[in-house]
Amino acid sequence: MKYLPYILKHLRKNWIRTASTIAAMALCIFLIASLQTVLAAFYGTIDTAATDRLITRHRISLAEDLPMAYEARIGAIAGVKRTAKTNWFGGVMGSSGGQPDMRNFFANFAVDAEPYLAMYPEYGLTDADKQAFMQDMRGAIIGPALAEKYGWKIGSTFQLESIIPPYRADKPFEFVVRAIYSVDTQKYPNHARDMMLFHWKYLYEKTGQRAGVGTYSLQIANPSQAAAIAKAVDSTFENSDTQTKTETEAQFVASFLALVGDLGLILNAIGMAVAFTILLVTANTMSMAIRERRTEIAVLKTLGYPSALVLALVLGEALVIGLLGSGLGVLMASTLIGNLGSIPGLQGFGSVAMSAGLAAGMFAVGAAMGLISGLAPAVGAYRANITSMLRQV
């Protein structure tokens, strides 16, 4: 620690160079941390998917509805405990310039409330909450993040209009907040806090009974029979006009996120390329900084500083740059992530947060990048011959 002031004074000396190197490092860490947080949020939904739930959807596309009549036939298949109709509503609050105001977008689903809530314990609701919701056709269950964002309380009303044409009625859908779910973050750390559920029947009636079923959520008795049951469901409709694709919830989310997976690969590759470039730039900067101080290194060695200590001092400078850069990068990334929900079109990321593990990992990456960038000049200083360096002055 007694050498820290010495290190900091050197970094302060050419503060523009130091600041720009830290900024470059911070940018790199910011990029990696942001990408990793968003990707982790995506993949977290897969990790926490229940093993006793299956999703049945249209074989061709998620955009195609399934017939309502399928529900009874699916429910009759051995091993299926309950089924629930689930439709992605795509409702948006208000409009701007004649277009839905995407700044007020959040995830909202029309669900077959009773079986759906029974198979999704992630939504923490009391019996009184459920009862209040069940008794009101316009009732809505909202997440705590929505309540906080819009100041909604039990009894608050709001309107949504879907961006999906078949779900649009003559007037926007009106809702009354009947319950605010809680999330047990120990059991369900990745469960969204900004979702809204309402009665599927309300959607059906309000659209003049035009709405079909987006997906069927199935709860099965034995998770080990998931594959067999999925096959049985799809076989049931194999020869019908509307064929189905049934998969576990994890597979459903994974297939839904397949594009994200590829995107993740690309973004990670870009992140790595940026990191490598920054590493080279930082290494060059460190080399320049040390080359300018050859005399000083010779003086330190003349005074009796062991080569290992001189090496440590150079690496110390690089480490401080790495740590400051990563600190700034993590701060920038957490600020951005914390405000993702307020960016139009990204409201779905409102409850995403950078994990402490990732932040610590980013500090480690920054420190490693700093040390690697300082390695060549540090070894050069370690090996430097005093008389040769003094002669070069």
Partner: protein, 237 residues
């Protein structure tokens, strides 16, 4: 016992395939508490000899014994440790660390000791007092004149209380007045603090301050001038 005992030292530099003999079987003894000036033309091997005595270079053959330690037997690490305790080096161009204040520069050798910060700072201030710059302790090198910078460098050289001071043309970059002050200071360190001083210089006036003047030419000691009537430093305490 001699403070410095250089025995039959040869130093050969290799430049491409060419061998340059800088010191050719040179022997030199400097008794404890002496003030020796090494003189000679450029390329005569003065600085190389000084570097060998300071333990920052190694002879090709021969022995260099300083303060009772044969430096040729020490590996890199122990030699660095030995330097920190036994040698004070004064450079021609001061070589202060520009980002550190005067007192921080003087404190540098003490960072290698286990002294607590307060004691380190006290000793550094004492060294600055000796060179008459206590009032400039928080000034940066750029805020000091050449003579003041050299005095700070001398404070840095003596702060760890080494027995031997080596000075490589300590007045070579100074005006006459500043050079005079530096030479006075070196004389004081020799006479009052009993430091053995080996000084390389081109300047005959500087050499006159030493008790012994050794002349080198082509890596060989040629003549010796001994003085027993060196005047007391001007303005000495």
């Amino acid at each position: 016992m001699a403070a410095v005992d250089v025995q039959s030292v040869r130093k050969i530099y290799k430049r491409d395939s060419q061998e340059i003999v800088v010191l050719d079987g040179l022997s030199l003894e400097v008794p404890e508490g002496e003030f020796v000036a090494l003189m000679g033309p450029s390329g005569s091997g003065k600085t190389t000899l000084l570097n060998l005595i300071a333990g920052i270079d190694r002879p090709t053959s021969g022995k260099v014994i300083v303060s009772g330690t044969d430096l040729t037997t020490l590996s890199e690490g122990p030699l660095a440790k030995w330097r920190s305790r036994n040698i004070g080096f004064i450079f021609q161009f001061y070589n202060l660390i520009p980002v550190l204040t005067a007192v921080e520069n003087v404190e540098l050798p003490l960072l290698l000791t286990k002294l607590p910060r307060k004691q380190r700072r006290e000793r550094a201030m004492t060294a600055l007092k000796i060179v008459g710059l206590a009032d400039r302790s928080h000034h940066y090198p750029r805020q000091l004149s050449g003579g003041q910078e050299q005095r700070v460098a001398i404070a840095r050289a003596v702060v760890a209380d080494p027995a031997v001071l080596v000075a490589d043309e300590p007045t070579g970059d100074l005006d006459a007045k500043s050079a005079e002050e530096i030479l006075n200071l070196l004389q004081t360190l020799n006479s009052d603090f009993k430091k053995t001083i080996v000084m390389v210089t081109h300047d005959p006036r500087a050499a006159c301050r030493a008790h012994i003047e050794r002349h080198l030419d082509k890596g060989v000691l040629m003549t010796t001038v001994e003085r027993h009537d060196v005047a007391a430093p001007v303005g000495a305490r």
